[in-house]
Symmetry: C2
């Protein structure tokens, strides 16, 4: 199976109580691809960078089996840049700088060789760009998932709603779910969001875990309680990458598969935050992944 | 097995977005006893009320098998009264009125007939009163659990720490765990709190579930996602009552038993908040309890 993923590839400056790093590799598409690469080889990237983006990072992704035909490298331009500082509790952050650079002109064209993609992960971008990707696909994928954020609810409400009509799954956090639905109870929020198009909804609650809603079914995945969280940047995208990667590696898309996929996504995210940037995510073993998944199982297992 | 419980029996005025009730029955000991009464018959109450406390409420508890020899009824005095208003999100509340009344003179004497108690639940009270109960017991119970609150950390730090040396289990929320330990990570908080005496720690996170820590083991119980939460008052005490009631109904105290007990406590709490005061908690069937426990199992069950 193949996973098409679209999103940013970027540089980040990050400051947390555990340190400060400058111009490290970031971006939704980067985290998604790295996380998914532990589950399947056929990953197709649609993104844009400037010519300042390191060749060795591109080569590393290629060595993981990631297809970068859809990566546009713009000469004499700079890559997207984001700078943020986390508060002491790591649950809140301030964006210090956002430089769109090449992203300002991002108008993705899906390569012909990507047309057979069976799974699509639309990273957080303008709803218009996300919709354009879906509309360029000549064959309906098995599952199209989308990430978005409160910013697009503020400035692009209608476009976001048009896009939501064309996706199967929405992956957002609890604040975003409440803003999008106008409901405080997440059970009610899910009911409202299903009316907008998606038939699957994942609500991420950060250190408090994540819900999966589908029809009248609910699954809950806890977050792994960690002694040290050094850098939460990319955790949500890593979750999405592990989640979609696991699904794409399976024979069928069932609720059971989605449940297990959330646990794999949570396991990948729990590793991601233990180091800055992609440092941990680039160096995981299959044993580390499966042993953390087993820890998730122990964490919630009880006998009645 | 028998469960000795100490705490308030009170009147509450409660206002939530779903309505307002006046002079309804409340108090930690009331919620604990009601919740525990679904699991065992041998419950011993130590509490204090004025002569305004309704006889029919006392008779109802007796009909559930609750022993009220340790309930002091003070003539010509009023019962403890609390009044609170919940914010729209139900996660925060303002205390409007606290009238100690009879509680100001509470100096509990453990009846001789309670001396064989094998399980003890010390509801939230001054640490001095909680310690006096433990010291009056001639035989060490199998498990002594204690609830407390940030107020006692502010005004009775030393007394609370002296009391913690004499208990097996502490049941608090995440803010309280952080204040008591001085650590943000709950994993680190647990390590610090174990140094203070308890060998079991439950950290409640309200709508985000609860952790059980013991040695290097961690168990996590989610909260049931509910469409409607009418009144969170007493949810923590109901959790503690269901939890201790379940444990006291079992042959042995093992980590496995404690895990299942947390799910039973969570199930009871999830019913408690669906109606005001004790309205739901007074009218549960064993079928409702076991079916909700099964929903908890479905909520977190996955296959790897």
């Amino acid at each position: 199976m193949s996973l098409l993923t679209i999103g940013t590839m970027a540089f980040d400056d990050i400051e947390t109580p555990f340190g400060k790093v400058e111009k490290v590799i970031g971006g939704a598409c980067t985290y998604i691809s790295w996380a998914a690469s532990y589950f399947l080889e056929d990953i197709q990237v649609v993104s844009i960078v400037g010519d300042d983006f390191p060749n060795e990072e591109i080569d590393l992704l290629k060595s993981r089996g990631v297809d970068l035909e859809g990566l546009e490298i713009v000469p004499n331009k700079k890559s997207f840049f984001w700078s943020g500082r986390y508060h002491d509790n790591m649950n809140q952050r301030d964006t210090l700088v956002t430089e769109l650079n090449v992203l300002a002109d991002f108008d993705p064209v899906i390569p012909e060789s990507y047309q057979e993609a069976e799974f699509v992960m639309l990273g957080n971008l303008t709803p218009e760009i996300q919709l354009s990707v879906v509309k360029q696909l000549k064959k309906r994928p098995k599952l199209v998932a989308i990430d978005t954020m409160n910013f697009w609810m503020d400035v692009a409400w209608d476009a976001l709603h048009e896009t939501l009509k064309h996706v199967d799954m929405l992956i957002i956090n609890d604040d975003e779910a409440r803003q999008l639905s106008g409901k405080y109870s997440l059970v009610h929020a899910a009911e409202e969001i299903f009316k907008k198009g998606p038939k699957y909804l994942i609500i991420k609650k950060g250190e408090h875990g994540a819900f999966l809603f589908h029809e009248d079914k609910i699954f809950f995945a806890p977050a792994m309680p960690l002694a040290i969280v050094k850098d939460p940047t990319g955790a949500g995208d890593t979750f999405a990458g592990g989640f979609m990667g696991y699904i794409a590696s399976q024979e069928e898309v069932s609720f059971e598969v989605l449940k297990t996929a959330i646990i794999y996504g949570s396991a990948m995210a729990s590793y991601c935050v233990e180091e800055f940037s992609l440092d941990k995510l680039k160096n995981l073993s299959q044993y580390e992944i499966s042993s953390r998944v087993n820890r998730f199982k122990e964490l919630v297992h009880f006998i009645v």
